[in-house]
């Protein structure tokens, strides 16, 4: 997924393009670039987030141009791979959203004809192909070119010889905005609405030629007409698809996300050296650290090897010689502390694996191996679907490494999450929303699950939430318990059940309200707990996934009830790139 914009008119193009790209950032944010036309073609492109561009980047001349914000699919995010791409002589510049499926074949042919490629992207075949077909008229060249391309594409092109913009669409979105003496093109309508409310949706196979005087649309070489629509609504609602916050949208995407994450690791793709590892060290920060802790509990018993889990920020103060495999987990792949830990691993000559959501982010260049969790762009600062995706990857890793745990259970993870969506959490939410302090307790692998739950709660609802291993409560925190401090506990049937129930009884004796996640048929627990959230799963992996999602929803609805700013909580940033 990438975002593209184009402009032709009377304003300086560069600022219009940058503002438009900012609106499209939800479609990708690993690199960006623009090209403008003013007698010749000017290009500015770089790796990074388009929302962090500086005003002095908007100085390219010209009133016609194209722009792109990238979510890498072919080739790493880098200055070179960022769009726009050009032909050999920089006469034609192109931005593209989609995937050219037959690019490898085209690239080979074009190379044989003497074209020089500068990037690793699929997109770069387009300008070279145009150069090859161009006999002086860019439109004619593009009409010929579409016969060569297979796959999905929305393409905007400008060329040196004339002041116009050409748009092509096939199976990727592209809309034109019709202004007064100016025209726009974009992946969706959000960048256009600041300037015009009259839009035109291109159909598959359409080629549009746009100049300052007007536009013409062709299907192949036949001219066609498309209706102009008037838009009268706010664009934010579209990006969120009707959900009030990105966080809720991302929570509801999790069934598909976890299935994708599980399938991202197969017996063929798992790094071989993991099978031979005598021990492992997981390095991560924030939510990823909790995923690592869950991995430790499960992997140590299933695979029979010791697993160390360390905070990225503390790892450098550990002076033990490194001999084992290092697994670095980072959603963004840019977390500075995790990067430095991987670097330390490289210096000690041990094997390193990165688990990340962003293709070819910094971490993937440092690590020997990368596992991509394929959660898609995550906008909300509080990690939800990326955490579940990490769980999916790590649980699958345990299944594959141990060879005992059947992945049949894991394939039902999406179903488990779907079932959680049917639960009614209203009572639990109203209990939490009243509290100033909340304790999250669990035992075994559910302890880190509760840590993650507490993190989500404090992150977005601003309620002070602490997590403890249930056995540790009596060593101090017990003195804080009162009728005003609810305790959220996981008390599912299993090895820790009996002792957990005992712990809860002790807490209840202090008048503490208890929200328990347990079996629906557990009458003892349902009498003890003020609120019972029923959960029925066949396997511990599925229980972990389900409890994670329950706690996400609990935090979300509590924060929503309190009217917090959920997607951008105060003082926090999505990826922490300083140590």
């Amino acid at each position: 997924m990438c975002g593209i914009v184009g402009y032709i008119g009377f304003r300086p193009a560069a600022p219009v393009l940058f503002e438009g790209l900012k609106q499209l950032e939800y479609r990708g944010y690993d690199s960006y670039g623009i090209a403008t036309h003013s007698n010749e073609i000017f290009i500015h492109k770089k790796k990074g987030k388009v929302s962090e561009f500086s005003p002095d980047e908007t100085t390219l001349p010209g009133t016609c141009g194209i722009g792109h914000t990238r979510w890498a699919t072919h080739g790493i995010p880098s200055d070179l791979n960022a769009h726009p791409h050009t032909d050999c002589n920089e006469q034609i510049a192109v931005v593209h959203n989609g995937i050219i499926e037959n690019y490898a074949h085209l690239k080979r042919e074009l190379r044989a004809k003497g074209h020089t490629f500068r990037s690793e992207t699929d997109t770069e075949v387009i300008p070279h192909l145009l150069e090859d077909l161009n006999e002086g008229d860019l439109l004619k060249a593009i009409q010929k070119m579409v016969n060569y391309l297979e796959g999905s594409y929305a393409v905007l092109a400008i060329s040196n010889d004339c002041n116009r913009l050409i748009a092509v669409k096939n199976r990727s979105p592209l809309v034109l905005g019709i202004g007064d003496g100016e025209f726009f093109a974009a992946s969706d309508i959000t960048p256009l609405l600041e300037y015009t409310n009259r839009v035109l949706y291109l159909e598959d196979g359409d080629i549009a030629e746009i100049s300052v005087d007007g536009y013409e649309i062709y299907q192949g070489s036949t001219q066609v007409s498309r209706r102009v629509h008037e838009i009268q609504w706010a664009p934010e609602t579209v990006q969120k698809g009707g959900f009030p916050h990105f966080m809720l949208k991302e929570i509801y995407e999790q069934p598909e996300v976890i299935n994708r994450a599980i399938h991202s690791l197969t017996p063929d793709s798992i790094p071989r050296f993991l099978y031979d590892a005598k021990s492992m060290t997981v390095v991560a920060c924030g939510s990823s650290y909790h995923a690592g802790l869950i991995f430790r509990y499960l992997a140590e018993s299933a695979c029979g090897i010791p697993v160390r889990v360390e905070f990225g920020s503390e790892f450098k103060y550990n002076s033990v010689p490194l001999t084992d495999v290092i697994i670095g987990i980072s959603q963004s792949g840019e977390t500075a502390d995790t990067l430095s830990a991987i670097h330390k691993g490289n210096c000690s000559n041990v094997q390193t694996v990165a688990i990340t959501n962003v293709l070819n982010s910094s971490i993937t260049r440092y690590a020997d191996n990368t596992i991509l969790m394929q959660a898609g762009p995550e906008i909300s600062v509080a990690a939800t679907k990326s955490f579940t995706a990490q769980l999916g990857v790590l649980l699958q890793m345990i299944s594959l490494l141990s060879g005992q745990v059947s992945d049949e259970f894991l394939s039902h993870a999406g179903v488990s999450i779907d079932k959680v969506f049917l639960l009614n959490l209203d009572d639990a939410v109203s209990l939490c929303a009243k509290a100033e302090h909340i304790f999250f307790v669990g035992r075994g692998p559910f302890y880190p699950v509760m840590m993650e739950g507490a993190l989500k709660m404090k992150e977005i609802s601003y309620i002070h939430a602490e997590s403890y291993a249930a056995g540790e409560i009596k060593h101090g925190p017990f003195s804080l318990l009162s009728p005003e401090t609810p305790v959220i506990a996981t008390c599912l049937p299993g090895p820790a059940y009996a002792v957990m129930l005992g712990n809860l009884k002790e807490m209840k004796a202090r008048g503490t309200p208890i929200i328990a996640i347990g079996s629906e048929e557990d009458t003892e627990l349902s009498e003890l707990a003020d609120v019972l959230i029923p959960l029925e799963e066949k396997h511990i992996f599925l229980e972990i996934v389900a409890v994670t999602v329950i706690l996400q929803l609990l935090a979300y609805h509590t924060a929503a009830l309190l009217g917090r700013e959920i997607d951008k909580p105060r003082n926090l940033a999505k990826s922490v790139t300083v140590e």
Partner: protein, 388 residues
């Protein structure tokens, strides 16, 4: 003048239980895509892109699917499902143009929509064998005289498809909770509403209607083979196989059939026409399946014969199961309804080996655990039942 489409997808569809546990009726997958998506495709084919969807029951599930549509849609919430007219009133603030109103749980083909869009203030009608399940429409000289919603005795076979094309000014005074009442009021105020016959229209009132709807919508699929297909498998007709799916040796697949992603179809499995198999489904060797709708994450064990079945998500069917079409009366709500199917299963049903199903409805999360086999014929088994 542009046209806005309002899709009503807020209602649960209680008569189609148990399939609406985690989604409204509009989201039930038919030919591997929610009914709503097929409808949106028809709208796009008519050039309508300004689409408003009214959501209510399990609204997050609907919105989650709307994100994947090829067009941006706006979402309006109907907090309490009081009726189709009320749903339209909820969307009133967004309506600025003439509007096409469609029920989200029906399929209408693009050419019918084009017909109705030609005449302002018109509605789509059709004939149906069981008119009393619908709004029965009285038409004279191509004009609608009145609509009677779900009469006990219908005196004519013309029924409303629920699709209306109205001027937006007519919406201003609308207060009725039911759309058909609102239209009756409009007629009594001398507004002329014309009737247009639908070419093609599919509704599923009861769950077994999905089987024929599925068969019809499968005709729209285009063949595509992803995944890994054994060279000794035989594939005929229009078959679509999703990526990551494995078709083992000696399978026989006769289209129209659609198979989703990451499925495993074991050796010697026969898949007969009219079958939709969603994602991550496992079918073990020597099973025959046809004319059925299998949703995500199901497992069907070996040596089974399955016909006319709707299997909800994550069902497990034991070895040597027989599902065979039958007709009879079963109780839905408080009525005895004539039904015709093999089995309709909700989500998460577990069925042990050697069970025979005929014309049976099984609720969500049921356990059918018959050690010595069992025959279920014209039965309704409620949610979360254990049959021993």
């Amino acid at each position: 003048m542009s046209v806005q489409a309002v899709i009503l997808a807020a209602g649960e569809g209680t008569r189609i239980r148990p399939l609406t546990q985690n989604r409204p009726k509009a989201l039930i997958p038919v030919a591997n895509r929610p009914i709503l998506e097929h409808l949106v495709e028809s709208l796009l084919a008519c050039g309508i892109r300004d689409i408003i969807v009214v959501v209510g029951y399990r609204k997050e599930q609907v919105m989650r699917h709307l994100i994947h549509l090829p067009v941006e849609v706006r979402v309006v919430e109907q907090k309490y499902q009081l009726g189709t007219g009320h749903a339209l009133i909820c969307a009133r603030d967004l309506i600025t143009d003439d509007l096409l109103i469609l029920p989200g749980d029906n399929y209408v083909d693009p050419s019918s929509l084009k017909e109705v869009l030609k005449i302002q203030n018109s509605m789509l009608i059709t004939t149906h064998r069981h008119p009393s399940n619908f709004g029965v429409v009285h038409v004279e000289d191509g004009r609608v005289v009145g609509i009677i919603e779900k009469p006990v005795h219908a005196n004519r076979m013309t029924v409303s498809c629920g699709v209306y094309y109205l001027e937006h000014t007519l919406l201003a005074g609308m207060t009725e909770n039911m759309l058909s009442d609102a239209v009756n009021v409009l007629i009594s105020q001398e507004t002329s509403i014309k009737a247009v016959y639908a070419h093609e229209w599919q509704d599923a009132i009861y769950p077994w209607d999905l089987i024929s709807m599925n068969e019809r919508l499968l005709r729209n699929i285009s063949p595509s083979y992803a995944g890994s297909i054994s060279t000794s498998a035989v594939i005929e007709g229009h078959v679509s196989i999703g990526k990551g799916s494995v078709i083992s040796p000696y399978c026989m697949i006769k289209g129209p059939v659609v198979i989703g992603e990451d499925c495993v179809i074991g050796p010697h499995v026969v898949i007969n026409p009219g079958t939709s198999i969603a994602s991550r489904v496992v079918i073990e060797p020597f099973t025959v399946i046809g004319n059925s709708l299998v949703m995500d994450d199901c497992t069907i064990a070996s040596h089974s014969k399955i016909a006319s079945a709707v299997l909800g998500e994550a069902c497990t069917i034991g070895e040597h199961t027989v599902i065979t079409a039958g007709t009879g009366f079963i109780e839905i709500g408080e009525e005895a309804v004539r039904s015709s199917c093999g089995v309709i299963m909700g989500n998460g049903v577990f069925s042990s080996p050697l069970v025979i199903y005929e014309n049976t409805l099984i609720g969500n999360d049921c356990q059918i655990n018959a050690r010595n086999g069992l025959r279920l014929r014209s039965k309704v088994i409620p949610d979360r039942t254990r049959v021993m």
